[in-house]
Each structure stands twice: as C-alpha cells, then as structure tokens.
Amino acid sequence: MAEGTIALLSFVLTLMVFSYVLGDLPLVGHLYRTAVYIFVGMSAAFAAIVAYESVILPYLQDIQNPETSWTALGNSTDVAIFLTALLFGLLLLMKPIASLSWLTNGALAVVIVVSAASAVVGGLSGTLIPLIVATAAVPDGLATDFQALTNTLLVFVGTVTALFYFQWQARRDDDGAPVQSPLSRGLRNVGKIFIVTALGAIYATTMLTALTILAERIGFVFQFGS
C-alpha cells in the first residue's frame, strides 16, 4: 500500500479517535468506537498470524523436512519436550468441550504451577532481594555527601513507614475497641504521606505520558494537513 494511503488512513483514524472528545453522541460516538474496533480486530488478527508464523509454522516445516530442522527438534530430548508440549496444548484445547474439559485440568495445573514457581523465583532473585539490598545499602562517602545522606534517609524512612502503614495490629481496650499506640499512628501517618506522594508521582507521570502521546498525534494531524 502506498505510503500516502497509509498516512491518509492514519489521519482519518486519528480524527475518529479524537471524536471521543465530543462525547457519546449519535454518529460521532460511533466513529470512536469503530476506530477502536478496527484497532482491536487488526491486533487480534496480527497476533494470530504472528503466532502461527513464528511458533507453529517452524515446527510444521521441521516435521515435514527434518533435515532442515532449525527449531528445537534437533535431538531426541528436544523432540520429547516438543511432544510433551504438544500433548499439553491438545489437552488445553479440550477446555471448550464440556464433556472433555476435565482433561484440561492436569495440563492447566502444570502451567499454573510452573508459572507460579517462575514468578516466585524471579520475584525473589530479581525484585525482592535486589531491592532490599539496595534499600539497605550505605553509599560511599555517606558522612561527607549530604545529598547521599539525605537520599539514604529518605529511602529508609519511606520504606519502613510505608510498610508500617499496612500493619493493623492493635491491642483492645476494655470496651473491645482496637487501640494503636501514638507511635504506631505516627509512623502510619508518615507512611501514608510517602504512599500518597508515590501515587501522586505515578499519576503525574501517567498524565505526562498521555500528553506526550496526544502531542504526537496532534503533531501528526498538522503535519499531514500541511
């Protein structure tokens, strides 16, 4: 398709999306919805094509001509793994059939358990431990570098108080009402400040991203118009 045609289509679709500004009005509202439907539909179609071409097709080609194998079907171990995956895939496909859906449970359990295991291992080694170490790390020159000292203190206080905000332990008074000590309440309030600040920062940066994308689209409209 010619580049000009693509640009024209992009221009029209951009205007259709911008029609959302006018609200859910007759005809106008449908322009936005139509643009979204086109986007979703084409995304789904592309996903299906790419999944077929890049995952399924190589194996089919290898099966037809094992001599030109370049996928994981290089040796018997890989073939066994492939067949196991194929079996699991077929079992997962049984889910829509009511009378055979029970066959899916085993395969689904394996998928869920492996996913959970990977998430736990990755979470520990990739998130929890590095973040704890980074939080507890004392930078060089802490005593002389005021900025480093300030940052370290902020990180430490913010982490501790934010964690403290989510603890709900309290003793009960004579009437059975939960009572927290003034220290606990104070720490929780400080933690609340850090949390609100963090959420505010996330909201602000999200808005900045939205503005960036909007500016790019508006620029495209004017560029096309000129």
């Binding site: 449908h30 890049s54 009378s99 990977s118 990739g126 020159g141 963090a198 996330i202 900045l208 960036t212």
Partner: protein
C-alpha cells in the same frame, strides 16, 4: 444422604455405557451423568458400580474411588451436623469460659450492609449511574448475580434504583438530548482547552514555554551516561538484543527512543536482534525499522533482515516466555518472526554485547529484570515512558546488571542531540538517483576526511569529550569502487610519546588487575566514564576527604575518580616518559604531565574505542544518524509543556470550583435549617 444426589448411572445405563465405551471417542467420556434419569435414577452400590469399570479407571486407588463416589453436595457442615453436639459437661474449662463469655454478651442485631458501613456516605462519592443504550454492539449485559452485586453496591453508596429497561432512555432522540446537556459543557470546554494548548506550538510560533531538554544527560542521572556510552561503544561485531515491549498505543512516546537507539546501533554496523513477548510489538518493530529505512533511502543501502537486524519469533507465555528466552536462547534465536531460520548460532544470552529493553509498562521492566537480567551477565539498559518510570527506576538502582535508563521523548531528544553532534563532521554521500533499487550497488562513498576537521567541533557538543580534541586520525580511504568498502575498526592513534611538560606532578598508576572502573564521582554508584588497565597512568588532581578516591585527569581533559586502593601514587619525573592522549597532544591541563593511557581498553568486547562519547569511526553509517526527521521534535516538547500547564490549570480550577460549590451548598443548607 439423598439418592438423587448420587450421580452414578443406574445399572442398565451403566452397562449400556460400558458397551459404548468400546467404540470411538465414547471411551473418553466420563462415566457419570448429573441428574440423568431424574429422581428415578437409583444409585447403585459403590462397589458394584465401580466393579463394572474398565480401563484406566481400575488404576485409581480405592480410597480415591470412594471419595469420588461421595455425593458432591456433602460439606464439612453436613458432617458436623451428623456428629451431634457434645454435652456441656464434657467441655473443658477453656471452652466453658468461652461459652459463658459468649452468652453474657448482648445479642447483636442483624444490620444491613449499609448500616454496617455507616460512614460510607462520607467517604464515597455517589456515582451517577447512567443507563446508556447500546451503540454498534449490544449494551452492557449483566448476569443476575452481577445485577445483585450492583444493587448492593448502589444501596451501600446511596444510589437510586436502576430503572427498568423499558423505562430507560434510548434511541437517537434521547441521545440527542444529551447533546445539549449542561453537564457536558465543562467536559467539552476542558477537552477543547487541552487540545488548543497542545496544538498551539504546531500552528504558531512564540509558544515555546519552558526549556528544551539538555544537550547532554545530566550527570546526576543514575547510569544514563553509562548507558549511552555502552551503546556508543558497540562495534561491527556486536549483537544487541533489543526487546520491544510496547505496542502502537505507546508508539507516540517510545518510538522516538526506539528510533534513536536503532539508528545508533545501525550507524555503528552492529546488529539488532529484536524480540518481544507481544506479537503485535513484533509487527510494530518492523514498522519502526521501515521508517528508518525510508528516511535514509536517498543515500543509503537498505537494511536487510537477517543481516542488519533480526526479528525473532514472539515469546509466548508472558513471564514464562522470558524465562524460556534466558534458558533456551539458542533455540529461540534460531527462528524469525516469519517462521524462517535466522542463521544465528548463539547459544547463550551472555554472548549478547548488550541488551536493551524498550518497555511501555513497569510490569514489563519487572518481568525482564526478574526472568532475564538475573540469568545473564550481559549488561542491560532499560528505556521506558514517563508512566512506567516511577516503578521501573528502582530496578535500575537495585540491579547491578541494569546499568541505566532512558525515559521518554526528552531523553530521546538529548540522545539525538549527542549523536548529531558526534556525527556533525560527516558529509553525507551523494543522493542516489533511484533509491528504490539500490541494494548496495550505489553504496555511499565514505566521507574522505571523516575526522580531519575535528577541531571545528560545534560548540553545542553535549559531551565534553570530543570538543577541542583533534580526533584520532583515521587514514581516509576514498575508493572508486562502487561497492561499499569493508568497514574497518579504527585504531585510535596513540602517540608513543606525547609532549610532556617540564613540571613534575603526581600521577596515579593502576596496580590492580584491570580493567578497573573510572567514575564520574567518588562513589561506586556514579557513572563509569572509562576503564583502565593495569599499568595505566593518570595525572592526579587531588583526592576526596578520606583519601579513598583519587581525582584524576583523563586524556581528553575530563576529571574523573578512581578508587585509591587500585592505584599507586608517585611523582612523575619531569621528562615524562609516558604516552599521550589519543590525539597525540598533551591536553592534560596546564602544568600536568600526560604519561600514558592504553587505548586498548574497552568496556565491551572488541573495539578499541575510548569509552566516552566516541567519535564516529570510519565505516560508520552516518546517514542513519544524520538523516533523522526531527522536524516536530521541539514543537512536540513545547506542546507537552503547554499541555502540562493547561492540565494543572484545569485541575486547580476544577478543585476551586467544586470547593466553592460545596461551600455554597453548605451555606444554603445551614440557612435552610
């Protein structure tokens, strides 16, 4: 136990099913049917029903078969009911005390959910639930359970009852009425104001509020300069794993970053291996590369898939797919997105010179940090948008392997400015007559003197490295052959003996086993500016307070720091016997002795380039950098600034408006009372 709840088939049907089980797919059907035969279905005895089973069912242990044959409605409560109550006398003291305490408490009245949450009206804003008719597709449909939950929620927050569908407004007429609804006016005004603010910089001049991004990454940015330098240190032999984890929805923000990073990679002749866990992103990456190709088409040869870049098959399974990538890189890298062999023979991620992640969501950064970065020793660079920055940045600080991060279009602007300055001395090859047919036959002739005029470095050079320095002389090799010359690694000329000043001065010689890091500031969290090898000697400018870091001068005039335990300090002789700066000039500052700097140092794999804002080498494809279309960059940045100002104004005005309205209502209410 109710026989109706017992789901086994009666004996006759059981036998019939057993007959059928010998044929075809019937054998896979479960042997039981719920409610089949209605109440008349009688339950066979457990053993008799199971004894008729054949095949795999016999392999099930007996206790499991018994458990399976139990009625599905049996619960722990049913069992408890059957057990009967224990006499009070048999309770021990603790249970008796608990019982008495419970009996002594006043009986609580049953309260409605709304009464239980008595203060919810003060906390929650009552939502106005609009029942809109459907458009192109059918309207929102709720199940009965969902409708009950909606009603409960509505009751809790004090909403009004949902009107019947028969009474709901529908059709074009009612929707047309909303066109004139006063409530829509603020929404419309805000939208128009925002669009106007964002559009002004594109249609008129003089709306440049704020400042453009800096021409160099700020030194306080954690690892950003290091990340740029790593990309700048790539060579012809290097492969970069480029993870595209953003789709068309974030293209407006991240395409700029992807564009400059890809151009930087292509300009140095390195290869980009593009991978993603999202199939749509693979398609989008192809579009980004196509746009780069179009921009350089008049002068440059085309990029060739599976030669200049590789699009790998998408990684299915989300985080599991990433784990698969890190463990089975060899098999994944073999298949392209089109299902064809790539010809790449890598076996491990460690063979990648660098990994760059361009991610839309912080979740993607987390997945890559957890599943990939921890599994490889290759250096890792992240690039995200503003929305993902707050949650992605901690990973850059915490992970040793994640060296730095680029954020949004502002960093893309700075990145491009550095590249443009570095490549400013290049002359583009002549424009091709037919850009659409060239596949190397009209390759650009390399600039005859790519670095000979380095003294005319533009003043806007963002990094202090290339300025003022006569660039390393690469012998120009103009060629008349139509084919593109084989790019050669440029060996930076190292003068064997630089001009040495006559003033003895302290120097620091690296005694640790190299390479050792030379940093911008005296702490290990600071950016790495260069690497030094054992025996390298640098002029000493001073040291920090406790003497743990030595302030040294790099050959190109940059002040840097090296840990004191890695070096030995002494006074250099006045006739200095060392080498010199890469340009052969003594530029170590007045009164300093430049002795030696071994430029075989490198951060990455093979290229003997100075690890700081490299001057482009001969063979670099400058057109990929110089022909970038950045016409609207500054207008976009101005639009972002104006849009931010407008958004803040709208938020402030809205809050003031609602505050004033609330005060007015409160005053009216008090007057009414």
């Amino acid at each position: 136990m109710n026989d109706d709840d017992f789901n086994w088939l009666p004996q006759e049907e059981e036998q019939e099913a057993a007959q059928q089980s010998r044929r075809g797919l019937f054998r896979f059907l479960p042997r039981f049917r719920r409610g089949r035969g209605g109440a008349a279905a009688s339950a066979p005895s457990e053993e008799s029903s199971l004894s008729g089973r054949r095949g795999l069912f016999r392999l099930i242990p007996r206790f499991l078969r018994r458990a399976r044959s139990a009625p599905t409605e049996a619960t722990a409560a049913d069992l408890a009911l059957e057990m009967g109550e224990r006499p009070v006398e048999q309770l021990d003291d603790r249970l008796l005390a608990l019982r008495e305490r419970a009996q002594s408490r006043p009986e609580q009245e049953t309260v409605s959910p709304r009464e239980a949450l008595y203060d919810v009206d003060d906390v929650l804003v009552r939502p106005e639930i609009i029942h809109r008719p459907g458009g192109v597709i059918s309207p929102l449909a709720l199940s009965k359970a969902q409708q009950e939950q909606v009603e409960l929620l509505r009751d809790m927050v004090g909403g009004t009852a949902l009107p019947d569908d028969s009474q709901s407004e529908g059709g074009l007429l009612s929707r047309g009425k909303r066109l004139f609804s006063l409530g829509a006016i603020p929404h419309l005004l805000v939208s128009i104001l925002m669009l106007l603010a964002l559009a002004l910089p594109f249609v008129a001049t003089g709306f440049s509020e704020g400042e453009l991004p800096p021409l160099a990454f700020h030194e306080d940015r954690h690892g950003t300069t290091t990340a740029f330098n790593m990309l700048d240190n790539l060579t012809l032999d290097d492969y970069v794993l480029l993870a595209f984890e953003y789709g068309p929805t974030a293209a407006g923000e991240l395409d700029e970053l992807a564009d400059v990073i890809l151009r930087h990679i292509f300009a140095q002749g390195s290869k980009a291996i593009i991978v993603s866990s999202n199939p749509i992103t693979i398609v989008h990456a192809r579009n980004v590369i196509a746009a780069i190709e179009r921009s350089v088409a008049p002068v440059s040869t085309r990029l060739v898939e599976n030669q200049d870049y590789y699009l790998l098959r998408f990684l299915s399974g989300g985080a599991l797919g990433l784990r698969d990538l890190s463990r089975n890189f060899g098999s994944i890298v073999n298949t392209s997105a089109r299902g064809m062999p790539t010809g790449l023979g890598f076996t491990s991620l460690d063979e990648m010179t660098l990994m760059v992640l361009i991610a839309e969501r912080a979740e993607d950064v987390r997945h890559w940090a957890e599943q990939v970065a921890t599994e490889t020793d290759s250096d890792f660079i992240a690039a995200t948008g503003y929305a993902a920055q707050p949650l992605a940045e901690p990973y850059v600080y915490a992970h040793e392997d994640i060296v730095g991060m680029f954020i949004g279009v502002r960093d893309a602007y700075t990145y491009n400015q550095i590249l443009q300055a570095n490549y400013a001395d290049y002359e583009l090859p002549p424009r091709r007559e037919d850009p659409g047919t060239g596949d190397g036959e009209s390759a650009p002739t390399p600039s005859p003197t790519p670095t000979a005029t380095a003294t005319a470095t533009p003043t806007a050079t963002p990094t202090p490295t290339a300025t003022e320095t006569p660039q390393p002389q690469a012998t120009p090799t103009p060629t008349a052959t139509p084919t593109e010359p084989e790019p050669e690694l440029v060996q930076l000329a190292v003068a064997p003996a630089a001009t040495a000043t006559q003033i003895p001065s302290p120097v620091a010689e690296v005694i640790a086993q190299g390479p050792v890091n030379i940093r911008r500031r005296p702490n290990t969290a600071s950016d790495i500016l260069a690497l030094a090898a054992t025996g390298d000697i640098f002029p000493v400018l001073g040291e920090n307070g406790d003497g743990s870091w030595i302030n040294i001068l790099l050959p190109d005039g940059i002040e840097a720091w090296i840990a004191s335990f890695l070096v030995e300090q002494y006074i250099a002789p006045a006739d200095g016997t060392g080498g010199g700066a890469p340009d052969g000039s003594a530029r170590a500052g007045d009164g300093q002795t430049v002795l030696q700097f071994d430029f075989s140092l490198r951060l990455g794999k093979t290229r003997p380039r100075f690890y700081q804002a490299n001057p482009p080498a001969q063979g670099d494809r400058a057109e990929f950098v110089l022909l970038r279309d950045g016409r609207q960059e500054e207008q976009r940045l101005d639009a972002m600034t104006l849009g931010t100002i407008a958004a803040v104004l709208v938020i402030v005005a809205g809050n003031v408006f609602y505050m004033m309205r609330a005060l007015t209502r409160r005053r009216r209410a008090s007057q009414g009372n």
